[in-house]
């Protein structure tokens, strides 16, 4: 033992030098990796806007509210796809939000303990299913059901609203909405579940102790507590829906135009890029597709930063 400690003392100057070198080298390597990661983010923004530059300089901001998409006359605009994106994601969100929150409530409050883990795991699995598989199911299984059952059903009750009239079709906005609902429900419900499980036990028990029913406790204590967090989760969910390209391309019918009916075909920003980049005939068309991607990029930044902002504000207010 004594010999050992002497050795340590004797070697300490050399060890210190190698430690210092190692320390600095290790720091630089990890720093370099971090710069790469941040650099990728910057590079994505630069490259996408660079690709879109010809279309941006040709069409300007008017691109956003132009309905043209014509490869022959070389006029392009994004309004049809902005409409398709907005309708498909917002309606999907409107369906997914209550379902997701209800699932989260079931899993944190109602389900017997033994059921929570397996059902929770199943919901997680649903979020892991690749979008191309959901799209495959959407086009071959869901589409025909929508055409033969869902659309006639909606039409018979709500046919007086233009949204639910028109020719039944296996592809179109409605299947796209359903597919997006399936994709964002597991995301929102698993975040909501996480949030609900963090509501302080004293508040829950306090409410129950003064005689609130379980639902009154949920409405009065749990939901107000997790409200901002759930809004952040919903923003992330709608961000996912807006950016989803593949499954939507498979089921939406990829046709430009703004139709009053949900039964008709449409196109979103992402699905237009996925379906057209290979057949793009002119540089301006490729550039216009990159312009669509730039819009998506800006939207995803807004959604993400918005969600982060909400989460941070809540965390700060709770200390």
């Amino acid at each position: 033992m004594a010999a050992d400690s002497t050795l340590i003392v004797l070697d300490s100057s050399q060890r210190k030098r190698s430690d210092r070198l190692g320390e600095r080298g290790f720091l630089y390597v990890t720093l370099a990796a971090t710069l790469v990661a941040v650099g990728v983010l910057v590079a994505i923004a630069v490259k996408v806007f660079d690709l879109a530059a010809p279309a941006i300089s040709k069409f300007g901001v008017g691109f956003l509210w132009s309905q043209d998409w014509n490869a022959v006359t070389n006029r392009f605009g994004a309004l049809d796809f902005i409409y398709g994106t907005a309708v498909s994601s917002l309606v999907a969100l409107a369906i997914a939000a209550p379902i997701s929150i209800a699932i989260a409530l079931f899993l944190t409050e109602l389900a017997p303990k033994w059921l929570r883990t397996p059902v929770g795991a199943l919901v997680e699995v649903l979020s892991g299913i690749p979008s191309v598989v959901i799209g495959l199911w959407g086009i071959l299984v869901l589409g025909p059901i929508v055409e033969s059952q869902v659309e006639p059903f909606l039409n018979s009750f709500l046919g007086w609203i233009p949204l639910f009239s028109g020719r039944y079709s296996p592809v179109g906005l409605l299947p796209a909405i359903l597919v997006l609902t399936i994709m964002i429900t597991p995301i929102v419900s698993s975040i909501s579940r996480e949030l609900l499980s963090r509501v302080p036990k004293e508040q829950i028990e306090g409410a129950l102790a003064i005689g609130a029913t379980r639902w009154e406790m949920i409405r009065g204590v749990m939901l107000p507590y997790v409200g901002p967090g759930i809004i952040a989760a919903l923003i992330l969910g709608v961000g996912r829906a807006v950016g989803e390209a593949i499954a939507v391309t498979q089921v939406i019918g990829t046709t430009a135009g703004i139709r009053s009916s949900l039964f008709g075909p449409a196109d979103t920003l992402a699905s237009r890029i996925a379906s057209q980049y290979q057949g793009a005939v002119s540089n301006l068309q490729v550039s216009s597709l990159a312009y669509l991607a730039a819009i998506l990029l800006v939207l995803s930044l807004l959604f993400n930063l918005g969600a982060q902002l909400i989460v941070r504000r809540v965390e700060r207010s709770r200390g």
């Binding site: 983010l41 994505i44 490259k47 639902w215 950016g243 930044l301």
Partner: protein, 325 residues
């Protein structure tokens, strides 16, 4: 608490006298909402069962020897022949290469932010990673297309780069989370006996969190194995051949499903369902695996393994001795 409905009682009447009249209604509302929640959970499970069920039922018929060993027949007279072996190999190669790129970078980023960076810097990096994670994969596809495909043509390695961009934030963020789980006592024990910080990270922190890091990596692999959009731009125009040459475009399972799903040929649909079984099976496998890895790591950190890791700390002291002595 003020929002509780009992406060709706008139101010002059003690609440208790209202309870009886209202209790029934309150209980009914309660039951109703409980029922709605349960129904929603049932609905989610039903959709999952319907989805996975139809994939399995329809895909199982495509499974035979040729499905796994042969490439697409390209024979219009016998569309049901052949298999998707070229896509299986292509997916494996592309995802493996993407993992090899993303894991070292992601883990190093996590080490920098959780061990070296000042809190403000770490916060900015974390925000960048979250933003990167939120970028739609089709935008990443366009980015890599403009960066590497234009002027060069498609290649499997370019697809790997695109997938690694998707994996990077997933791996870095999950590793960050895991590194914070390593008990402070372990770090202090190492630093307290004079171990240099970088040796402490490599010798103590990384081994202690290996299970958690692997969890993040396997989840990231599961996520990108099904990614289609970026591969569409980088490796979709491929020949029907089994190949591991990453300088050419390789067929992959997701792109094959995407193409076949829009084909009018039922035999192509069958192959797409078969490919979908493989993807879902892979996702299930990795999610089970990652759960196991994570719980094992947590057990190790909580239980007896702490002693073992403390043993490592003393083992690190061996580094101080020169072999010649």
């Amino acid at each position: 608490m003020s929002t509780l409905p009992t406060s709706a009682n008139g101010p002059d009447v003690p609440p208790i006298f209202h309870v009886d009249r209202r209790l029934k209604r309150r209980k009914i509302v309660n039951r109703l909402m409980e029922g709605v929640s349960t129904l929603a959970a049932l609905l989610a499970v039903a959709v999952l069962v319907l989805l996975v069920g139809s994939v399995v039922v329809r895909g199982a018929s495509a499974f035979n020897g040729a499905f796994f060993t042969q490439v697409a027949s390209g024979d219009f007279l016998n569309p049901a022949g052949g298999g998707i072996a070229h896509a299986i190999v292509g997916s494996a190669v592309i995802v493996l290469l993407a993992t090899l790129i993303a894991v070292p970078v992601g883990v190093l980023v996590a080490i920098y932010t959780s061990e070296f960076a000042r809190p403000q810097v770490a916060g900015i990096v974390r925000l960048c990673l979250d933003v990167l994670n939120g970028i739609p994969s089709i935008v990443i596809g366009i980015f890599i297309f403009g960066l590497l495909v234009v002027g060069r043509g498609q290649a499997a390695w370019i697809a790997s780069v695109a997938l690694s961009v998707i994996m990077l934030p997933l791996i870095a963020r999950s590793t960050q989370e895991v590194l914070t789980l390593v008990p402070l006592t372990l770090r202090e024990a190492a630093l307290g006996v004079g171990v240099a910080k970088w040796r402490m990270v490599i010798g103590i922190v990384i081994p202690a969190s290996l299970g958690g890091i692997m969890t993040g990596v396997s989840l990231a692999i599961a996520r990108v194995a099904g990614e289609t959009a970026p591969i569409l731009f980088t490796s979709s125009i491929a020949v029907n051949q089994i190949s591991t040459d990453v300088s050419h475009a390789l067929q992959t399972i997701p792109v094959l499903i995407f193409t076949y799903s829009e084909s009018p040929e039922p035999a192509d649909h069958a192959k797409a369902w078969g490919g979908a079984i493989l993807l879902i099976g892979f996702v299930l496998f990795t999610s089970v695996l990652s759960r196991m890895l994570m719980s094992r790591m947590k057990r190790r950190l909580e239980g007896g393994a702490r002693g073992e890791l403390l043993g490592r700390v003393t083992g690190l002291l061996g580094l101080f001795r020169r072999p010649s002595a």
